[in-house]
């Protein structure tokens, strides 16, 4: 349940090719609407705004013309060893299901925000305000995800509902829901990225593309030294980008 690494036969993972990401924000926009995050009037207040997927701008910190930038899209990292789970006093968040997606049970969340503080990737968002859609826009809410009231914590779910749908579709087609074809379950951000910068699949399934991608010499994970053992991998051929993935001392 917490504090130690859990292994699952299926391990859903995302592989993000930083060298292809233009920073356009389409993944963020896709996520917002897929998951019923309300439009936020004061979205520039990043301490209060909710964005399950967030695109960070990285820089190599050099001056012109040696400066370089990269964009790093950041969904929930779905840690194998999630720091948020161990601090939740009411088990509103857990890692206990095949697939390894860290859950978030809104009706159980008491809004204490321990998990927000514990997550080293800042993927958790507390609902400071009631979610409000402009008049009529609630008709475009997705039936796949519930709307959260203010006062609870939410985060990227790897579009868990899409997994459920994919399993249903497999069952209907007479296929094994626990051995989905590559691409049968992809998240909204992955599906819509116009650059094809994101890939998704079961890391443990050799028939899935991500199984190979995570073995790339250019693959890395964020803050690997923390031992969080995340299910989101990044790929960059640029060394400075890979180095930024972890907290290195200047001398290292």
């Amino acid at each position: 349940m917490s504090g130690h690494k859990m292994e699952f036969p299926i391990t859903w993972g995302m592989v993000i090719d930083i060298d292809k990401c233009t920073g356009c924000g389409a993944c963020m926009a896709s996520c917002q609407t897929e998951n019923n995050v309300e439009p936020q009037r004061e979205a520039s207040n990043k301490l209060r705004a909710t964005s399950w997927m967030l695109v960070y701008e990285l820089t190599n910190d050099k001056a012109f013309p040696n400066h370089d930038i990269a964009y790093l899209p950041r969904p929930c990292q779905q840690c194998g060893n999630p720091p948020c789970v161990s601090v939740c006093p009411v088990i509103a968040t857990d890692k206990n299901e095949n697939g390894g997606i860290v859950s978030q049970v809104y009706p159980r969340c008491i809004g204490c925000r321990y998990c927000v503080a514990a997550c080293p990737y800042h993927v958790r968002y507390f609902g400071w305000y009631d979610p409000i859609w402009p008049e009529g826009m609630e008709k475009t809410l997705s039936p796949m995800t519930s709307v959260r009231p203010r006062g609870v914590v939410e985060k990227c779910t790897f579009c868990h509902h899409r997994w459920t749908q994919a399993k249903d579709a497999a069952r209907v087609a007479g296929k094994d829901p626990d051995n989905l074809d590559d691409g049968a379950y992809v998240t909204s951000c992955v599906q819509n990225c116009p650059s094809g910068a994101l890939a998704f699949g079961d890391i443990k399934n050799p028939k899935h593309k991500v199984h190979e991608l995570v073995k790339s010499p250019y693959a890395f994970r964020l803050l690997e030294r923390l031992g969080t053992d995340t299910q989101v991998y990044y790929i960059s051929r640029r060394e400075w980008v890979r180095k930024l993935g972890d907290n290195y001392l200047k001398s290292e």
Binding site: G25, S30, P107, G136
Partner: protein, 716 residues
């Protein structure tokens, strides 16, 4: 995962919770928390049968095919359509907004008539009567503006304007207008199309090809497809421009050069190609050679642009030795470029023998037109709207008596906003067909809201930049939510009232006829199993099974055709280059380097509300937008990080905060476009400044085209 309340109760009932012996305390705590969260004012999600229907994005200029998820017949989400060649599954933040923008607070809910400073709702019949009367009286002096680069609606609009006695039918300025001018000066036929899918070495001169330029989603898919994650890329891209923008961020190399110098850089590369023996039979080659050799040697280019001789030589070498090199030229902010840099860039393609070749440039023929008396796309793109409005403002050009504005927001989306507003004021009767209350609609006498793309028939024909002819259908998948009408229908109704015969009764008929005419074009096919770039690369084009085209389009497939219009005299237009491209002294003034992004919408959509979250706080914070300068420029201008400054240009002042960003050339002030709306809704209004208004329009030597590629600004 996101469990809803019911699913969670299911879990509790299943007894999976907790290590306690009795679930009762848990259940009680749980009920209490559910009760505290059970707030009736939190919206419930809709229920009903889920299905998917196909259409095409019209709000996004990239023209992506869309799959719309519906619940009980209501559109819920817009996703990319994997079988559509301009989407391949991808969708921009703007195309994603097609659904929820149906309920944008900025939507105009019914036809309206100006009543002093405000508007009063009127009926469609009243609107038609009023319009017929005013336009009848304005006969001989009616102008129109369209911001739709791809729709057959332009045929209806321009045919009607012509029959009313046209004072000019204009397209909003864009990459397409600039390129059309350049092609015309070169004596070329057709619209330049870029085959990124088959290109292996791409030189991008200025054009923000992965963000706003042309078919950007398709461009990005083409780029990504040849770059397997973590492996050596099978293509290489070099970006030349003033900032490391979204495009440059993923290119293999960024070569800093001012937007004003793109032509110089191109001719500098031509110098190397010529030296290595490149030649051409095209008209004007000798003059071209003389122009290039006369002033664009490596040292000339270095002096003028700062680009090192070895950098230029390396680019030239990479292009010359590539199997499928391609050069694409455009404005870093999607507008305002002169024709000469495009000519210079196209000259490279000619020297490299890349015209009408896989991975090169195809001069795409226009699709057959169906409305009698309509302007061709080429003729429409030939108009120069900023020049026209400047003429009207200064009194040199007689002001039209009436102006019809379709899918355009000239009061916001043109440079030199102060001048343009004055010109618009001089036009006594203005009608806007905008769906949203934008800055231009707010100035008009009648506002006759167009239904949104998900509520109407419309089409997308070969967006600028596409490497192949392509046609896809936009179709109504939902009844109009407000009292709006398809503008095509309104215009045809108006024509009837004025006894003008435009051949069609409603717009759906126009589209049907267009589709029927496409079915007859030889070489056309439906892109399903074979994509147009595969045909360009040599795969045989499948036959078009007649009669089924409408059905295929409705199912979300696109009609496409590969190849180019016959060329008789495509030449180098060297006399234009000689006049317009000069390797002069570098600019000493501070120059504005705007950048545009789809996530901040277009002048027509305003800021899509869900995209506001995607804007970083280094671009917009509270109500202030940031400009970007590198630390060297900041030091020279005495600017500090976070400092509030005033930018002035073209008689307009704009506020900004300073963001230090090293990937901006020295002397350049990079500024985001798409902010600073005074109209629309609270997601757009008052958020930052409209830096486009600072750009003064100048006339390009040699072509006479209006341009605003490198506006000077003062900082205080």
């Amino acid at each position: 995962m996101g469990l809803d309340r019911r699913a969670f109760l299911g879990l509790v009932a299943g007894g999976t919770v907790g290590a306690m012996f009795t679930p009762i305390p848990w259940k009680l705590i749980d009920d209490a928390s559910i009760w505290t969260q059970n707030w009736p004012w939190i919206p419930r999600v809709p229920k009903g049968q889920v299905d998917y229907v196909a259409t095409t994005s019209k709000l996004c200029p990239a023209g992506e095919g869309l799959k719309i998820m519906r619940v009980a017949g209501n559109p819920i989400l817009a996703g990319g359509n994997p079988s559509h060649p301009l989407s391949c599954g991808g969708v921009s933040a703007l195309a994603r907004s097609e659904v929820y923008m149906l309920y944008s607070p900025a939507r105009i809910k019914s036809p309206m008539k100006r009543n002093g400073k405000t508007f009063a709702p009127i009926t469609w019949e009243q609107a038609l009567v009023e319009m017929a009367e005013k336009l009848g009286a304005a006969k001989g002096a009616v102008a129109s503006i369209s911001g739709d680069n791809t729709g057959t609606i332009n045929e209806v609009l321009t045919a009607l304007t012509a029959k009313l006695g046209s004072a000019g039918s204009f397209m909003m300025p864009s990459e397409a207008t600039t390129a059309a001018k350049a092609m015309k000066l070169m004596g070329a036929q057709g619209q330049a199309g870029y085959d990124f899918e088959n290109a292996d070495t791409v030189l991008v001169l200025g054009a923000d090809i992965f963000e706003t330029w042309g078919t950007s989603s398709r461009n990005r898919k083409a780029f990504g497809a040849n770059r397997p994650a973590g492996a050596k890329p099978a293509n290489s891209y070099v970006y030349v421009g003033p900032t490391r923008n979204n495009t440059a961020a993923v290119c293999d190399q960024w070569v800093p050069a001012a937007a004003a110098d793109l032509g110089v850089v191109a001719l500098g590369i031509a110098w190397h190609l010529l030296k290595a023996g490149a030649t051409s039979n095209a008209p004007g080659f000798d003059t071209f050679k003389a122009v290039v050799n006369g002033g664009f040697g490596p040292e000339d280019v270095k002096r003028a642009t700062g680009v090192a001789p070895e950098t230029l030589a390396a680019i030239a070498k990479a292009l010359a030795s590539a199997k499928a090199p391609l050069v694409v030229t455009g404005s870093p902010f999607g507008q305002g470029l002169g024709a000469a840099p495009v000519i210079a860039g196209m000259s490279l393609n000619m020297l490299l023998g890349r015209i009408n070749k896989p991975g090169g440039v195809y001069m795409l023929p226009e699709l057959p037109s169906v409305v009698p008396g309509a302007l061709t796309r080429a003729a429409m793109l030939d108009g120069d709207l900023p020049a026209f409005l400047k003429g009207v403002e200064s009194g040199k050009t007689p002001a039209p008596k009436a102006l019809l504005i379709y899918d355009a927001n000239p009061a916001y989306g043109l440079p030199e906003a102060a001048t343009m507003a004055k010109a618009l004021e001089k036009i006594p009767f203005k009608v806007s067909f905008s769906s949203f209350m934008d800055e231009t609609a707010a100035l008009c006498d009648l506002v006759l809201p167009n239904s949104l793309p998900l509520e109407r028939y419309d089409d997308v024909a070969t967006p600028y930049g596409s490497g192949f002819c392509v046609y896809s259908l936009v179709r109504p998948i939902q009844k109009p939510i407000c009292d709006t009408k398809t503008t095509g229908d309104v215009l045809l109704g108006l024509a009837r009232k004025l006894s003008i015969d435009l051949k069609f009764d409603n717009f759906q008929q126009v589209i049907k006829e267009k589709v029927a005419s496409l079915a007859k074009v030889s070489g056309g096919f439906v892109a399903k199993d074979v994509m147009p770039w595969q045909v360009a690369a040599g795969k045989p084009a499948p036959a078009l099974v007649g009669g089924d085209l409408w059905k295929a389009l409705e199912a979300g497939y696109a009609w496409t055709m590969v190849g180019q219009a016959a060329q008789t005299s495509m030449g180098f237009a060297a006399e234009v280059l000689a006049k317009a491209v000069k390797a002069g002294k570098p600019a000493t003034a501070t120059v504005l380097a705007p950048y545009a992004q789809l996530r901040t919408g277009t002048p027509v959509t305003g800021m899509p509300c869900q995209d506001l979250t995607t804007v970083p706080d280094t671009e917009l914070l509270g109500d202030t937008t940031f400009i970007r300068v590198n630390s060297e420029t900041a030091k020279a201008l005495g600017l500090k990080k976070g400092q509030m400054i005033k930018l002035s240009g073209a008689g307009v002042d704009c506020q900004a905060k300073v963001h230090i960003f090293e990937s901006v050339m020295p002397g350049m002030v990079s500024a985001p476009l798409g902010f600073g709306h005074t109209a629309f809704d609270y997601y757009s209004q008052g958020k930052g400044a409209n830096y486009l208004s600072l750009a003064a329009v100048v006339e390009e030597a040699g072509s006479g085209l209006s341009m605003w590629i490198a506006p000077e600004v003062k900082i205080a």
